[in-house]
Symmetry: C2
Subunit: 326 residues, 2 copies
DNA sequence: CTGAAAGCGCTTACAG
DNA sequence: CTGAAAGCGCTTACAG
């Protein structure tokens, strides 16, 4: 060393006010010159904090998820926290493995990013006695905080937009049953129909998988109907991507023959041909909020249990009045 | 405890052959029932391995990056390794912060995923004496392994495709100067022109930023030319996304008036209207390879310094013969 | 096959 | 303001 002891060094590096300023300066200089890096493992062993958080995603390659993770990492980095990323793939076996790893790492908090996470996953994490924030997936229980978009309201507004254009046969192309965001968006769709006294028609509801492939198949089903819809509200932009392709393959024009709307406003949606009418979710901001919530919990500050962010209707050229009133 | 000592427990949980099988079974059962989770920090303090790797990306919200990270995480998870994710944003200050964090965590290896990473970043990491794998960015030095797509070859093939359709005025819409993948793709473009004895015209080369916005602006420039191109080879699909929009805004049809090709085959490219001709990069596979390389290094097995993966030309409907021979 | 001991690199009361 | 000591939860030679 350079004149002092172990403990003093430790204190100096943490900028303790207990230490002589000159000593601090000297020690910090020496440490820097020597390329000293504290061992996170050793520190965390005694402090009982890892200064790391865990982020579980179903699939980081999903642009919704990636956008949100980017917002999480941004705030975490600003506060000197490391982030562990783990894909669960909605596979129960991987979910268990992920939870176990996070426990071993003694993460200070967990963010679960995904609308697809099964409710059964949360108990697994809740068991860890660590703050949990769910992003776009509320959990009915005391274990977790939640950051969400106001799905129902935004969906209602989007459906109203279609109705105001003159549409009456509006299809809902959803995700798989049981996912909360699908359920809520579906509810908003029905709200708007009810308001406008349009009879709900179950045959106009089809289900994809939240990805282009599922959207494509589901859309195909709608055009096998004796009376196809004049507008389709797709659960998300990824589904819309598939629906758009299928509809074009059928020789129909958008929006002249059929209007299409999505949800999320992913980066590509404004570049589609035609540009997609959708609801904007502020992905990065949602990620920021989730991380902010975790930070508040760490600091012992009060924090809302359910944070709701409004979506924003973005009207583009994929929606227009129907050709003929039906 | 339950009859035995500290050391025996440690050995039992690691399935040491030194321990009586019955004892092992008993200890493992007790540990499971008690919900015991080993402390990664404590273990790593003595083993001097963290069983964690660090992944640096410029921006996880970029679909190229997200696809690759997904492939990295997949293999890491299979081998019980945790992954730290950090965004550098190509911001020098953040790069330093990321590198420092990874040092503190004593990661066992680092993967840098990005075509935008500055060469100046690598020394920062190399200093850590830890295996480094660069994905899509080769570094001329002994510090790092590299996994890359065969940019030049694939680019040459794509350009040949445009030439074979009859194009002679082919523009290159690149990324910013100095990025390796841009440089290599540009070289492939020139190779193909040379082969076909088409004179290279500097005015047909424009530069974007690898994102839709930059592609849009760069494309606009090409149509201010007295003799605009009949085909545009975009450095990547993200750039093409912007170029497509701008070209449509100019009232031109694709591919009738101008052919457009991209590079990467991101998930959305096959769903565009028209579907985009491009070069497929096997993103997930590239991520797998990078992680495999790291694993080999950990195991002390020999591993190639430079792994090159071929791209695959995917011809779709955004390219066609030019309207008139120019 | 099992136990006792040392030590990984830190932090933090407790004395001075 | 600084030092000596204990301890965080593991692993691993070293003895038996």
């Amino acid at each position: 060393m350079a004149g002092v002891t172990h403990s003093t060094v430790s204190r100096a590096l943490r900028n303790s006010p207990l230490v002589n300023q000159d000593t601090v300066a000297k020690i910090q200089r020496i440490a820097r010159d020597a390329g000293y890096r504290i061992s996170a493992a050793a520190r965390s062993l005694v402090t009982r904090r890892s200064d790391a958080i865990g982020v579980v995603v179903t699939n980081i390659a999903d642009p919704f998820v990636a956008g949100v993770v980017s917002g999480i990492e941004e705030i975490a980095g600003q506060h000197g926290l490391s982030v562990f990323l783990a894909n669960s793939n909605a596979d129960p076996e991987r979910e268990v493995r992920v939870a176990r790893k996070f426990e071993e790492q003694r993460v200070d908090g967990i963010i679960v990013t995904s609308s697809r996470v099964g409710a059964r996953y949360v108990p697994l994490l809740a068991h860890m006695q660590v703050p949990i924030v769910l992003l776009n997936n509320q959990h009915p229980g005391p274990y977790a905080h939640a950051v969400m978009i106001a799905n129902r309201e935004a969906s209602r507004e989007l459906t109203r937009h279609l109705i105001s254009l003159g549409h009456r046969r509006i299809a809902y192309l959803g995700d798989r049953h049981g996912y909360q965001s699908d359920t809520e968006r579906f509810a908003g769709y029905r709200d708007a129909l009810r308001e406008a006294r349009i009879r709900f028609q179950p045959c106009l509801v089809v289900h994809g998988d939240g990805k282009p492939e599922g959207g494509e198949t589901a859309a195909a089903g709608l055009f096998g109907l004796p009376e196809p819809p004049t507008a389709i509200f797709c659960y998300n932009d990824m589904s819309a991507l598939g629906a758009l392709r299928r509809i074009r393959a059928l020789g129909l024009r958008i929006p002249e023959d059929v209007s299409i709307a999505g949800f999320d406003d992913l980066f590509f949606s404004q570049f589609l041909n035609p540009p997609l009418t959708t609801v904007r979710q502020p992905l990065r901001h949602l990620g920021n909020l989730a991380m902010d919530t975790l930070l508040k919990i760490f600091a012992g500050e009060p924090s809302e249990i359910d944070i709701k962010v409004p979506g924003e209707l973005i009207v583009r050229q994929s929606t227009a009045p129907p050709k003929e009133q039906s």
